[in-house]
Symmetry: C2
DNA sequence: GAGTGGTCTAGACCACGTC
DNA sequence: ACGTGGTCTAGACCACTCC
C-alpha cells in the first residue's frame, strides 16, 4: 500500500491557528471582550507575530474580530443585516432610511460611471455623497450620480452647495417615477476617503453595491455604495433580523 | 499657521506600490499577460518581497491579478457578472442555468442552517452539493439543504445516492410552488472543500449568498452558495453584460 | 530540477489611542 | 510615556507546476 496519506496534509500554521482561535472565541470569550495583545498571543502559541497576524486577519475578514490600532483586538458582534432593497418604487433618500449627512458637488464621474449613466465622457453630473448609519455606526458610504437631465427643474440660480444642494437633488429625483433598478455586488477595497468615513484603514474590504435607477426608459441615476464587509451582511428581502452565525462559512466534506 | 500639513501623509509603501502597479496594469499590460516574478518585482521597486506581496494581495482582492503557485502572476480579465436572481418562480436547478455535477447526501446541517430551515437541531436533511460553472471556470460551490418534509414523495426505497439522488431531490422540489425567497450576501473565506472545488487556496475570499426558499408558508429549502470574490460580480437584475471597470473602487475627495 | 508563489521567522520601527 | 496594532525588512524553507 505504499505511503499512508496522513491526515496531517501539512496544514499551514496560520490556518490551524485560526481554527483554534475561532473555537476559543466561541467558548471562552464574549462579544466586546478584548484579546491579549499580538505579541503575547504569538508567544503563547509559539509562532512569529506575523504568523499570528495572518490568522487574526482571516478572522477579522470573517467578521469575528475587530482590531483597532492603539487600542487592541476585540471580539466582534455578529454581522448586522443591512437591507439593500429600496422597496421597488422608492428613490434613494425616501422615507425613514438611515442615510445622512448628504453632501453634493458637480463633477465629471469616472469613465465607468459615465458608461452606466450613458452620458458623455466629460459631462458633469451632480454627485451626492451620503453616509449610511446603523446602530450609531457608519456602515456604508455612497456616491450618487445624477445627470442634470434627470433633475431639470433644479433651481439653477444661486446653486446652493453642500447639504442644501444634496437635498434639492434628492427631492427633485423623487418627483420622477422609478420604473426599475438593477444592482450588482462585488468585493472591493476601501479607498482613502471611504476608509476614513467608515472608520477603517485604507484597503479595508468592502462590498461595493452598484445600483442603476431607471426612469422614463433611461438611466436616471447611478449609485455606488461601499459597505463595510467586516460588519455587514447585505440582505435582499426580509432576512434582516435573522441570525446567521459563522458556522456556515466553514464546512467539512460530506 | 503652524506646521504645513504635507500631502505626504506617510502613505504606506505597499499602498503606493499598489497604486503604481495598478496604473502599470492599465497601460503596459494586457489581460492574461504574466508579470515578472515577485523577487524581481520587489528588487525592481526596492522593497522587501513581503511588502510587494501586500500590494499584490490587494490587487488580487480587487480582481485585477491572478496568482497561481508554481505558475506565476497574471493580469486578470474583468470580473464576470453572475446573475444571482432565480427569476422569482424558479426553484434552483430549473432551466438552463449553469449548475452542474450535483451530489447528494443526508446529513445534519449546522445549527445556523437548522435555524434558517426551522428544523430540529439534530434533524437530518437532504444536502445537495453543486458547482456553478461559467465560461468553463467554476465560479461557485453550493450546498442546498432540503428537509424531508419538503420532498415527501421521494422514492424512499433503495434511495439512490450521489448524483441520482440529487436529481431526484431537485425534481421533487420543483413540484412545489415557490412563494418567495430572500437572500443575503456577505464576505467569507473559503473552507478547505470549497477552496478545492473553486480552484483556490483555503482562506480565499468568497461572497456567501444565503437564500431561503418559501413554499406553503414555510421555509422549504435553504441554499448557501459561495462565489469566488476575485472573479465574480453578483448581479441582481439584468446588469450582467455591462462592463464595470475597476475605477469605481478608488475615488478621490470631491 | 528549475522556477514560481506560499509560509514562516525574528527582529525593527512607526502611527495611534489612552492615560 | 506607554501599549496597541500597522508596516517593513532580509532572510529561509516549502509546495506546486512545468519541462
Amino acid at each position: 500500500m505504499g505511503t499512508t496519506q496522513l491526515e496531517t496534509v501539512q496544514e499551514p500554521k496560520y490556518w490551524h491557528l485560526k481554527t483554534v482561535l475561532a473555537e476559543a472565541l466561541d467558548t471562552d470569550f464574549t462579544v466586546g471582550e478584548i484579546l491579549p495583545n499580538e505579541r503575547d498571543l504569538a508567544a503563547r502559541f509559539g509562532v512569529a507575530r506575523a504568523t499570528l497576524r495572518q490568522a487574526l486577519e482571516q478572522l477579522e475578514l470573517e467578521g469575528r474580530l475587530q482590531r483597532r490600532r492603539g487600542v487592541g483586538t476585540t471580539v466582534a458582534p455578529p454581522r448586522v443585516g443591512v437591507d439593500v432593497t429600496t422597496s421597488r418604487q422608492d428613490w434613494p433618500g425616501t422615507g425613514h432610511d438611515a442615510w445622512q449627512a448628504a453632501e453634493c458637488t458637480v463633477a465629471v464621474p469616472s469613465a465607468a460611471v459615465a458608461r452606466l449613466l450613458d452620458t458623455e465622457a466629460d459631462e458633469e453630473v451632480h454627485t451626492v455623497r451620503r453616509l449610511r448609519v446603523n446602530h450609531g455606526q457608519p456602515v456604508a458610504a455612497e456616491l450618487l450620480y445624477v445627470p442634470s437631465s434627470s433633475v431639470p427643474d433644479l433651481p439653477a440660480i444661486e446653486a446652493p452647495s453642500g447639504p442644501a444642494l444634496a437635498r434639492s437633488v434628492l427631492r427633485e429625483l423623487q418627483r420622477l417615477d422609478l420604473e426599475g433598478q438593477d444592482r450588482a455586488v462585488e468585493l472591493g477595497s476601501a479607498g482613502a476617503v471611504d476608509a476614513r468615513e467608515l472608520d477603517r484603514l485604507p484597503g479595508a474590504p468592502v462590498l461595493v453595491v452598484t445600483t442603476r435607477y431607471f426612469s422614463e426608459g433611461r438611466t436616471a441615476a447611478v449609485s455606488v455604495a461601499t459597505y463595510r464587509a467586516d460588519t455587514c451582511r447585505l440582505t435582499f428581502g426580509d432576512t434582516g433580523d435573522v441570525e446567521i452565525s459563522h458556522e456556515g462559512q466553514q464546512r467539512r466534506a460530506s
